[in-house]
Symmetry: C2
Subunit: 208 residues, 2 copies
Amino acid sequence: MTKLQLALDFTDLDEAISIAEEASPYVDWIEAGTPLIKAEGLYCIGELKRLFPDKTIVADMKTMDTGGLEATLAAEAGADITTVLGAADLSTIKGAIKEAHKRETDVIVDLLNVPKSKWAEIDSLDPDYICIHVGIDQQKSGMDPIKLINDLNVKSKKIIAGGINTISAEAAAKAGFDVIIVGSAITKAKDPQSAAKAIKEAILRAEQ
Amino acid sequence: MTKLQLALDFTDLDEAISIAEEASPYVDWIEAGTPLIKAEGLYCIGELKRLFPDKTIVADMKTMDTGGLEATLAAEAGADITTVLGAADLSTIKGAIKEAHKRETDVIVDLLNVPKSKWAEIDSLDPDYICIHVGIDQQKSGMDPIKLINDLNVKSKKIIAGGINTISAEAAAKAGFDVIIVGSAITKAKDPQSAAKAIKEAILRAEQ
């Protein structure tokens, strides 16, 4: 079953928690966004785990160096999953996977701004998940991860992120993605709970 | 005059402050390392600025997305300079430069794991500084930024980082680098103050 991950790209923890509470009946995974981690520190991970003990908590560390150390920090803070950048040196990705797995946590490699020519090599490192991702800055110039939906031929589990809405969530679920990350379509909606419900329903519809 | 930047790659602020206090008579810039920012949050930037008001405080944000937002967060937290990854989309680098400059702060673009073929394009965006950088994970496989010392032909000011010690600091100063970043050669020294002094003297010697 395709999972719905809520990306909390806030810089204030209280605001993030308030939206997470509204959306939580309809999301499977909850992500502490990179700006939230940098703004509030790893404390925010533990708080999310404490408040949402039944959800999988993702720490979007976007690790670029010291892969082992950052995966350890995320796990010790309470994260179930951490992220490492595909743009990082392979040694960094390997280090993150090794230390995360020691702590029975998982790793997502984020393909943000990584050329397709490198995707197979990253997949060969056996991360738990690989994420095609069009960044928030890239979205402003019209880039859309749905255009890449058929390009991600990997043996790792597949995640998609970057401006996903109800329509693209359904398309991604149909295309067999394991996890669909949604941020602003929920967090900036007038009614975040209804938005999360609509996206969850679109995913379930795709799977029928 | 070549400046000496102390990289505080700790995960505990008190430990970082204690080393910074020892080394401070001999360093010009003090950097909150990426793991420190993620572990402690942006609060650590303000603390470093409060404790070392005469030093230039660098927030090693290693921004990969939301360039404008993260440069703003760093500046508002008290940083004089923020870092953005050269591996990021050009729109992210541009956003960081634009918002940092609005707040009268500077930007370092970090060339960690960026192919040389992209360096000129990054330089054309007119960041304040460009940093050749061999990561901590990469150093374990014998990579050394000194080997790249003559490859960084840019109009931006030049910084070097990655396992720099007294000998390589002197070589980098002779090669005309504007800033030399030193981490473990000071922070893991038995006597951090003496280590900082020796490196500062090596830099001054190179400039005579």
